[in-house]
Amino acid sequence: MNTLHWIVLFIIDKLNGQRTTSGVYHLIKGKRSAQTIQDAYIFHCAPYVSSIKDLKKEEFYQIINELVEKNFILVKTQDVGVITNTGKQKLVNLQGLPILPKEFNGSKHEWNGSAQFFWERYSLAIQTLSYLQHGKNNFIPVCYHLEVQRWLKLLFQQYLMDTKIMSDNIYVETTELLRKVSNQHANLFVNRLTSPYGTGKTYDQLCKDFNDDPIKTKLIFQSVIHQFLDTIEKKPKKYPFLMNFVIKTKGDSITNSAKETNYYLRLGKTINEISNIRKLRVSTIEDHLIELALFDAEFNYTPFISDEEIKNILITAKDLKTKRLRVLKDHFNPTYTYFQLRLALTKEKGADSE
């Protein structure tokens, strides 16, 4: 079993036989859908969202098969995954050995791309500064993204092309941040960087110190970035230079399309009206509302469901020991719509303070 197996097993356990394996896949991969993020909160595994963004479907099902073969999980009808006692035991044995580094928070830093946003800019900035400081103007950038290259150009203009000052700033702030992590992790971070002394190393090349497990190595690396971002967020005044590398729009977890829906909502339009105006299906608009319910503190439930009703649904869910919409729907039929049930479940988020 490697890290990837652990994560899959862990999440199947958390989802508790209430979601399909493809729901597990979407969660690990971090599908940009309201359903996925809602699942993550309902089942208390928010840190795991988008933990393995580049997981391929075939690779995932390969792991599912291996876990089934080892009798750690069962895949029941309709593709629902359940953990077996053997599997549970396996996870118990793991206790005390966190699968994810504790600073890792996928729903906060991976799902909306803020960690990637930071790293692409940071690694290109270090490469560029370091080449320029060595008097070398021609190099092939480690980041091919035009947008990132353009962003860096603007940053340089902002600092009047003074590479010395920029280098000073980035050095001081980076060392401050790296002092907060272990030496081993700090080394890992620095070894990913590209300079005239060498190209950054891949996770495969760096995994020696981390159980020869490239995925574990990657997760640790990302957790360093997550810690950077958390620290910068807490003390922005202390990191004025690196503040430039942090994604600007807060609440960016909300997709643009949901924002547009929100605009019409605030004009007082109904779901059906918005669906007509935007030429989108009603179900899509409902997805947007779920997104807003999760991420927009100002979102107003009351036109769709009362507090009393929410309470009722949540209590019933607890009694029935289920978070499956189908089961809840069958129970309440026809009192609440699917949409109302989903909306009520978003309120579970508040209880989740892991």
Partner: protein, 512 residues
Amino acid sequence: MNNLDQILHKQFGYKDFLPGQKEIITSVIQKKDVVAILPTGGGKTLCYHLSAKLLKGLTIVITPLLSLMEDQVHQLRAKGDKTVMQINGLLTFQEKKRVLSNINEDTILFLSPEMLSNENIMNKLCKLRIGLFVVDEAHCISQWGHEFRTDYLRLHSIRSALGNPPCFALTATATKAVEEDIIKQLGMESPIIHRNSVNRKQIKFIVEKVDNNTEKKALFKNYLSKIQKPAIIYTATRKEAIMLSNEIKKEGYEDVAFYHGGMVKEDRLLVQHQFINNEINYICSTNAFGMGINKPNVRTVIHYHLPSSVEQYVQEVGRAGRDGNESIAILLYNKEDRIIPLSFIDREFPSKIELKTWFDAMKNSRRSEGIGFKLETMKELFQIDDNRWKMLLYYLEKSGVIQEKELQIELLNNKLVLMLNERFSTRKKTKQKRLIQLEQMMNSDTCIRGSILHYFDELTEEQVAPCCSSCGFTMNQAKVQLFPKEKNEVVDVSNTWESKLRKMLFPYEGRL
């Protein structure tokens, strides 16, 4: 000095043209349609780069592989030519828009073929004067070339839509049949053909036959201690690329990495840069690291398996010796090698049963879902990979089943299944034949170089000595070139992260 030489000198910093370059460029700048066949490493990039500078109007460059295109664009830009830009599927909508608003008649615009079916892009291009329409690695557009993709089959109509700008096709590996197909597919008019020999004299060939995989591994390890580096080792599958790189590490060569199309982009780029910068000396790779890769000093290419065609073999071997120095290409061959490429070929095309299942499902879901039905859901549902999916769409369009993006459901009948199946079987047979051709070539005792030249319809005139294992060449005769090890100041591993970071950013201190 005439004008072309001056430009070569001033703008590109080269002293002389490589053989064939000047003739080719001269034809191109006369606005003729041109097919240029120049060997691997023969300097094809320069041919269109320089021509683009002399012709009025925007230059479009079509290249087949995404990673190849990105490299080429970044290398050209890193050398200082900021008129070079690219649009491909990896760009976001915003980025595409921005590139489109920045292009003008001086731009050299690299495009992946599928981008030409994008209306916004085509609309913009139609408004500009197009000076030259370049198709690099043009053998890919032939049904008989490898890496064939259906997107290429649209190039002709697209070129017409752009007002038929002069067309310039380049490749290292085109038989006469492929050459004719290129001309036809691109609708070229009485093109000028510059055919240069595919021969790479500085590359020596060795073929070793083994009986089983254990023997192969042993032989490989033996070679490992003899070959010159840098070296590329080609394998048939991703798994084996990883496996071999571990083997190499175990043998005590730490400067090795693997490379394949399934890696995340960031790591793929890092490995590529490490290899180009001589930080690692061995790279174990699938065919993802092939065509177009330009590193001057590759000394050895080892094929751990049989590639899928003579073209692919020649392209991959062509990564070696681009600096003009002697290099060696070794093929380790085992009878069972053919199994993997044969199964790849099999999987590349949908079977009759699959076609039938898909069509039935399309019909049914169409009935139940009404107008909301999207073709793409079918792709998801049956997990059809991109290439097979595109191939299917192309043939559905071609046979009128998809008209104006609408599926004519009543045409999804048995007759269509049989017709498509027929097409695919023919293509399959062609591919199998090409594999067998390579296999036979490597199996026979005739001169390998001679066979390759013969395959590309060339006569072997000059003798190359030493030549290949069939002509008596062995590793022992290989020149041992001692290159001064390039001084790559390596950061001492014992350094702390802090001093590493310091050294990166402040080169002039710390020596106090």
